[in-house]
């Protein structure tokens, strides 16, 4: 492996990990603060991406698309929380899983009715090409922008959660909900707020990933599974855990996809290696999760000690 390859893969892992973080941050807060399993979290990612692609199509401005998706999806998420999801908090996890699974199906078909099966979304023209980072090595400009945006949002979120009053309330809610309520926290408003933030972060991830993947119905379901892996690895309810977990999953996936194959090629005949490599690479993340669970069942940075 050359150093250029390692550098490029590290950037790829960082980019993927940061996008996973945007999804996992919301999911882990909802799970941690409200003790609510929200399978429809991936659907908010889809709704955000569609909203963004639609606005970009109307206005031609990518920034407006992200802004519009952020606000629109946050409002949509808050409306959803206060109408449909609130009655579910008192129920057990199985009811929540069933209800939010139904929500996935409804939102998929709803989106199909409103926007169609897919919407085109391309990166802004100026970011379509590569940027030369060090002589002889260029990296796609758009992916650099994603990394920048992801880091900025992670920093903002850290400030919000660690340094502000509302952040203190969120942390209190995540580590001990009953006690927080007893201390006079308006838990209803807090929940709606947390849900809105989670939805908005999903939307940003959806719009940013749109040009690299595809804005289509059902796009949230595959990535939702990865987001769950992230919060299980990182520890439920912890933003820091979500960040570390997301980056680990991003790196394991990116390096797994190439290193596994090279590794197998060293030991095995080419025919076997090209069959075994992808098979192992696709389960690498889950093997990693199983390993974390075996050593630290509560995750790397659990919110509740």
């Amino acid at each position: 492996m050359t150093s250029v390859l390692v550098l490029e893969q590290a950037l790829n892992g960082l980019q993927f990990g940061l996008m996973l973080f945007l999804l996992a941050a919301g999911l882990t807060l909802v799970f941690g603060v409200m003790d609510m399993i929200n399978l429809a979290h991936g659907s908010l990612y889809m709704v955000g991406a569609f909203l963004g692609a639609w606005i970009v199509g109307l206005t031609g401005s990518f920034l407006l698309g992200i802004g519009g998706a952020f606000v629109g999806t946050a409002l949509f998420g808050m409306a959803l929380e206060s109408s449909l999801l609130r009655p579910l908090y008192a129920r057990d996890h199985l009811s929540q899983v069933l209800a939010t699974f139904a929500l996935i199906l409804i939102l998929n078909d709803g989106t199909r009715m409103v926007f169609g099966n897919d919407l085109p979304l391309s990166a802004p023209e100026a970011l379509g090409g590569p940027v030369e980072l060090v002589p002889g090595f260029s990296y796609p400009a758009y992916r650099l922008v994603i990394i920048g945006a992801g880091l900025a949002i992670a920093a903002l979120l850290y400030v919000l959660v660690a340094k502000t009053r509302i952040g203190a309330l969120v942390r209190a809610g995540a580590s001990n909900r009953e006690m927080a309520t007893a201390m006079g926290v308006d838990i209803k408003r807090l929940f709606t707020f947390v849900f809105g933030i989670g939805a908005a972060l999903c939307a940003v991830a959806g719009v940013l990933m749109g040009p690299l993947l595809a804005v289509q119905v059902g796009m949230g379901e595959n990535i939702l599974i990865l987001a769950f892996v992230v919060i299980v690895v990182g520890g439920i309810g912890s933003i820091r855990g979500a960040l570390v977990g997301a980056l680990l999953v991003g790196f394991v996936d990116t390096f797994g996809r190439t290193i596994m194959q090279q590794l197998f090629r060293e030991f095995l005949p080419a025919q076997v290696a090209s069959a075994a490599g992808p098979a192992v690479a696709s389960v690498a993340i889950y093997v990693f999760m199983a390993a974390v669970l075996a050593i630290r069942p509560q995750g790397l940075f659990p919110a509740r000690g």
Partner: protein, 396 residues
């Protein structure tokens, strides 16, 4: 969670099946079950096959071989289990005479037994895996388009002819992906510096592109149908790899459905195919003109294949004079393929896979600000069959 989806889908289908009470089978019309991928990022393929198929029926006055044609169109959603259920519905409930439509080999192979076990013809407008050409060949299965390996054999031949020394190969990890790369290696005389199989349906190729950059091949050959190819080419351009290596593609990865979303950076790319919109035979000129008029876009390879499939049914039903219950006669008529294909001359081999010419095409200006494929005059492979026919033990 996928288990939830499956069990829910299953129970819905069960409900639909039990409520189906009508069992109409009429000899006064020809019924065709058309199952294809019509939603998701790879939908453009199925949509083009469908549109061209229906166009052929429409141009025939709603008839195929003199009988009124009824085409039952349904969407497999890119899911093998859904396709299997739709096949079952079309065959058992609607009693279709022919099944067709599926784009992807893995989906077709999952659903195909439903047709073969029920003694129903399957005319494949696209997927033609190596297994069905060789040991699993079946009298009820016709590959109308091209064997899975063929474009790749043509591409390997072209790279060899151009004196290229090293290649990196990339394909999804499924049957057609493996067929394709072994096809390329069969005719390529240089060295393979890297070979990678990705997850089917993968849309982000950052990790693979990094490895390709490090491997420094002269040619990069990728087999990525549908949305996968569109994303890959966009990301290949974004990563700036175009100046370091030649990207060589199978025809369907450089067709109209890819040119549209990728745009100007497609210009000048080489690709291989058995058909091109600029073919000058009369059947093709009529097809391309009618397709453009009806749908206001240039047809893709997939469209040409859907059109040919309808023409094949038309010819067979015509030649047996509508007697669809005589299976042996229908099969003979299908095998004779007495129609003017838009690809020019072709015939079925003993394994019911085509023998035909393959061409190199380049993407160039269409003279109206857009891009379109233009074919080289001389075929790169002439009267080319497949490498598996000797394993097929089918009676002629």
């Amino acid at each position: 969670m996928p288990t939830f989806v499956r069990s829910l889908a299953l129970s819905c289908t069960a409900a639909a099946l039990t409520s189906a009470l009508t069992l109409a089978s009429a000899a006064d019309k020809v019924k065709i079950g058309f199952v294809s991928t019509l939603s998701g990022p790879s939908a453009a393929l199925g949509v083009d096959i469908r549109d061209a198929f229906l166009l052929a029926v429409k141009m025939n006055g709603g008839k195929l071989g003199g009988l009124p044609a009824e085409v039952l169109v349904s969407d497999d959603q890119f899911k093998p289990d859904v396709a299997k259920q739709l096949f079952e519905k079309d065959i058992k409930r609607d009693k279709v005479d022919f099944m067709t439509g599926v784009v992807f080999s893995n989906i077709m192979l999952a659903a195909l037994p439903e047709a073969l076990d029920a003694n129903t013809f399957y005319l494949s407008p696209n997927a033609a895996p190596s297994s069905m050409a060789g040991k699993d060949c079946n009298p009820l299965f016709f590959a109308v388009a091209w064997p899975n390996d063929a474009y790749h054999e043509a591409a390997g031949q072209f790279a060899t002819q151009r004196g290229m020394k090293s290649v990196y190969l990339l394909a999804p990890n499924y049957q057609a992906g493996k067929d394709s790369l072994s096809g390329f290696k069969r005719t390529f005389k240089g060295t393979v510096v890297g070979e990678n199989y990705t997850k089917l349906g993968q849309l982000d190729y950052a990790a693979e592109l990094a490895e390709i950059r490090a491997a420094k091949p002269q040619v990069l050959y990728v087999f990525l149908p549908g949305g996968m190819g569109i994303n890959f080419i966009k990301q290949f351009v974004g990563a700036g790899l175009g100046k370091d290596m030649t990207l060589l593609l199978p025809g369907f990865s450089a067709d109209q459905d890819v040119i549209g979303p990728v745009g100007a950076s497609m210009s000048g790319l080489f690709n291989t195919a058995h058909w091109s919109p600029d073919f000058t035979n009369a059947a093709n000129q009529k097809f391309v003109a009618e397709f453009r008029k009806e749908y206001n876009r240039t047809p893709t390879l997939y469209a040409s294949q859907g059109y040919d499939t309808a023409q094949l049914i038309n010819a067979a039903v015509r030649d047996v004079k509508g007697k669809l219950e005589d299976h042996e006669a229908v099969r003979k008529a299908l095998k004779a393929a007495k129609f003017d294909s838009v690809r020019g001359p072709f015939r079925f081999n003993t394994n019911q896979y085509p023998i035909q010419n393959y061409y190199v095409r380049t993407v160039g200006s269409d003279g109206h600000g857009g891009l379109v494929n233009k074919s080289f005059n001389e075929p790169i492979l002439k009267d080319h069959g497949d490498a598996y026919v000797q394993d097929c033990k089918m009676k002629p």
